[in-house]
Structure formats: C-alpha cells, structure tokens
Symmetry: C2
Subunit: 159 residues, 2 copies
C-alpha cells in the first residue's frame, strides 16, 4: 500500500463523471427526441455516413442491433428518418433523414454545441480544443483492434 491514489486521480472516475455530466445536460437538450442522445447520434450518422445500413449504424454507435431496430422504429414514427430498401441488398435497409429530420438535426446540433461548452466550462477555449482532439484520437481507434492486444502480463513492479 505504498502510494495508493485518491479516487480523483482515477481515469475511470474522471471519465465516468464527465460522461455522466455531459449525458445529463445533453438529455435536457434533446428532450422529446425518441431515443434520447442516441437518437441524436443516429440522426447525425444517417445524415453523414453514406453506407448507413442499420447494422453499420449499430456498431458505429456501439449499440446492439436489436436495439437499433426499435430505436429507428421510434425515429421513423416521429417522421425524422425513413427506411429505404437497399438497391444492392434486399435484406438491408438504408436509413435516410427526412426533411423534417434534417431541420430537427440542425436545431439539435446548435443546442448540443452549447451544452458541450457548458460541460467544458472550467477549461479555457484552447484547453477545450485540446481535450476534444485528444478524446477523438483515443475514440477513433477500433475497439476490437485494441482489445486484441493483450494487456502485458509482466506485473513485476512493486506496489
């Protein structure tokens, strides 16, 4: 028990706190949107990504494919997205934004940009940019690739 850390120095703790705080303010902003923050992410992905089949969306956003089904059900019921048959594969459905979905997305983006700044308020604008950039670089690596390489087994250090 040589140098046990405080909770505050734990990466998982900080990560959880910030993620939870962000989630909370984000939920206020997307109130009423089916699926909450995830519904928003589906809208963004559907607007940008070209190969927006349900499965591709699911693994990009890190949700189960069975969840994506009723997530899109709700967004479609709200008139924000449409399921179009994939011309190349009749099993797949391509998820595309409707016009009202685009307008809604535009509004949500504005709101969430503010919410993010709100969470990052304790940092200077330059520090916010640094944090965003670093987080994005960490987030962009393929999680499967990362998990493939085992954690080093040589636990030889003192405690």
């Amino acid at each position: 028990m040589a140098t046990p850390q405080r909770v505050e120095s734990d990466l998982g703790w900080a990560l959880g706190r910030v993620a939870r705080a962000h989630l909370r303010v984000a939920q206020e902003q997307v109130a009423g949107l089916p699926g909450g923050p995830r519904g928003y992410q589906v809208l963004v992905a559907a607007a940008r990504e070209e190969s927006s089949t349900q499965l591709a969306l699911a693994q990009k956003l890190g949700v189960d494919r069975t969840v994506m089904t009723y997530l899109i059900d709700e967004l479609q019921a709200a008139g924000l997205v449409e399921r179009r048959p994939d011309p190349a594969d009749r099993r797949a459905r391509r998820v595309v934004l409707t016009e009202t979905g685009g307008a809604r997305l535009c509004d949500l983006e504005r709101r969430l940009r503010e919410a993010e700044q709100h969470v990052l308020a304790p940092l200077t604008p330059e520090e916010q940019d640094v944090l965003r950039a670093l987080l994005q670089r960490v987030a962009e690596v393929d999680p499967d690739t990362a998990s493939a390489c085992e954690v080093a087994r040589d636990l030889g250090q003192e405690c």
Copy 2:
C-alpha cells in the same frame, strides 16, 4: 444544414466511446470483484477518504444510496470492507478496508493502471498526462453547481 458535423466530432460520441472502452478493459481486470468497477472505486474511496460514511461514498461516486447498500453488502461478504459504527452518529456506518481488502486494492490498482495506459495507447505519454489533467479538472467541479447556471438562452447564431 450549413456545416453539419460528422459523428466523430461530437463530444458525446467520443466521450461515450472512450468511457465504454475503458469500462470494458477495466471490467476484465476487476473480474470477480463484487460490484465490478464500482466496487473498486468504493475500495479506493474507503481507503483514502476519512469521512467515509455510506451516503458520502454514494454521492462521491454518483450512485443511489440504496445501491450503495447492497454494493457494500457484497464487498463485506467478500471480506474486503467492514461496517463500523460511527462513534459520533449511531445512525451512520463508516466503511473501512480490511487487511485483505487493502491487499486486493493494491493488486487492483496495479492492474488498472496498466489497463488505463492500454486505453490511452494511441497517445504519447505527455498527451496522456494532459488528457488526464484536463479530464480531472472538468470532473472535479460540483455537478450541482454546474447545473445551476442555465445554458445561455440567446440562440442567435445561424445554423
């Protein structure tokens, strides 16, 4: 729809991805520990904080107090912590580490430090330090204080 962002530039997306990735590798390391990663955080908090009453722990870790009850139940059943009567307040229980709990915590800290480095692998050591420092500063602000100040209502910008 002037400049709609990609999903990757969304802070919530990056935050969620990194938090999930960290959670995954962390869960591998704490396998067998009651309560998973949260159990670990309870151990850390119980080891460091002096005023470690259950309610204080709960709000420090951001969990409901009813959850903290059976969380500590399990840790106690595993012989890692003890509930001691608070000499000053007979309603409260102070959560203290047992000897085996301390040893276990020591081992877990070593494992998790490696797991964290594993998640942050795409960054240089200096960048890792920067990211940790920035996240901690954001995480340390009182969430209630932050939520008290409303998000600015002047949404005058163009989209």
